[in-house]
Amino acid sequence: MGQFIQYLINGLISGSILALIAIGIVAVFKSTKVVNFAHGHLIMFGAYFYFTFAVMLPEAAFMPSWVAKWEPQWLLDYRGDAMMFSKEAAIATWVSNLPRILLGLVGALAANAVLALLIERLVMRPLLGQSIFAMILSTVGLIWVLEGAAGLIWTAEAEQVPTLGPNFPIRFELFGTNLFLFSASLVNFVIALLLFAGLMLVLRYTRSGIAIRATAEDQSTAYGMGINVPRVFSTAWLIASMTGAIAGAILASRTGLSPAMGLFGLSVLAVVLMGGLDSFLGVLIASMLIGVLEAMAQWKLGGSVAEIVPYVAVLVVILIRPHGFLGQKEIERI
């Protein structure tokens, strides 16, 4: 039972990150009807940008020293002679890292936004109205371009980046068993869920959110009602790239940077299809489910089985409900 709860918690935490990634795919699909196979690589770029701005840039010669390591007197006093790996030491490390974490996040968000706008303008816009086939393949083509570009720009592999929150182990007891998790994972979980909820609210209540939903409903009518549809497309790509940048930063701090992050995006695509391409809620459910299933598979069957869990799950779901858990029925079954 204790083990079960432990893996359940791990699963929910990784599920929340899956959801944060999936939101980008759904946002782009809802407004432009483009399924972005290259979303994983957008995330990889987010992670590399975070690395650039949070690790490489602060170490550059021209940056003031407090960016790389911020150590005001009160912080040194607070740390005092705290034990390594203790709560105080972890918080103190985090605070002294705070300037570069913020710089990294802001830089990654801005750079990824520019990248997404470029992609939208140069690749996606000319392909509007083409077949599903062309759309899938052009995003697949993007995978190669992005991967190659990342290989040209960055050589770092499996580099460590600062975590978004202070990182100390939390131990607590539930149903008579000792459980254990890292506080940074908890922070990631909260950030992911807050972003998810925030985006849902934005889509529901703000002007641009309503524009996105109207475009999703019917493009030509949206045009007729005076909605700037091309701008809606840009907005959707912006949402995707910026949530992707944060997801990239989180992933990089969890598992380290590597070009393999791009492939991770494909398993998220499976999650998205499972939840239903145009339903945020369905995708949230599917992400949590896959996260938990993966953790369980890791527990009972080993790590290599966990890798294919999303693919098996999506096959099963597609066969039973071709439009996913909560997706709109639009596929003909002949």
Partner: protein, 350 residues
Amino acid sequence: MITGNYKTRYQDDESIWNNWAKRWGFALSIVFLVVFPFVADNYMLLLAGQIAIFIIAVAGLNVLVGYTGLMSLGHGAFFAIGAYTAVAIHHEWPGTFPLITLVVSILVAAAFGVLFGLPALRVKGLYLAVATLSANFIVLFFIREHWFEEWTGGVRGTETPNAVFFGVELVSQQAKYFMIAPIMVIMLLFAQNLFRTRFGRALIAIRDKDYSAEIMGISLYSYKLKSFAISAGYCGAAGCLWAYFFPAILPEDFGLNMSITLLVCLVAGGMGRTLGPIFGTMLILLVPEMLKVIVSMVTDGDAMAQRYFSPMRDIVFGLMIIGFLIFEPMGLVNIWDRFWRFLSRWPFAK
């Protein structure tokens, strides 16, 4: 398109080579295929063998994507199944006659094709793409795991046998070429012929509008599965030849990269045409080689530049995909057609 293609009998119109251009083109390419190995060096033969194997696989994918209109991102799996079947057969019965191995590989891959095709009966387009993509990952997972390690070699891959024809082992690049090239020609002819038959026309009808095809009496259920089986069989044949051609295989060879490369070859060449896979494969597999030559010319073989070669190749590859989709969605075959149309009408009209 050839103008002035005048026929007086239905028989002429129904023949495979129904005009002079096709007849001469076929004859010339056969001559080229026969002469080529005697003038080419080993490296060119290596490339040629690789291209021929890919052409078979892409022609198979063309049956499914180009003619039946179903999407697949998982054909690398059939390639893998063909290759590992060949290895397993030679593991159990060393020295099996290569053509028997080839036929068994085709049959096994086709059986898996039917299995993969089952989702196609329920979903189309994007959903099918992701379903086949998932199937690709799952097949590779089973190949990598230790359960079948005796035949597949697991993660570390396995050495592959050489083909032995009547006691003669095909070791040299040239000998292997002479095994692969005829098989490629036969399989291409089969594909070309397939679409003159009722069966092939039924597939085209399904591509153009599935429910009207069903109303006209074509059973979507069986035709889609058969289309999957045939296209998987082609990839199985390609996989079997791949195992004979290369000294060793790894599970990673047949991953998503392979599946997408096959699809890209098809798109670059032109879907739904027999020439498409040939042109597309030659372009996609030769461009990296040209790039290699250009890079080494520009940098004089600088070792530092080698680091940039593989990302550069990726970028060029991706840009080619996007470029074809935006500027020439019908593929190279369309350019080829325009060229001949221009020549045959030359002084009068464009």
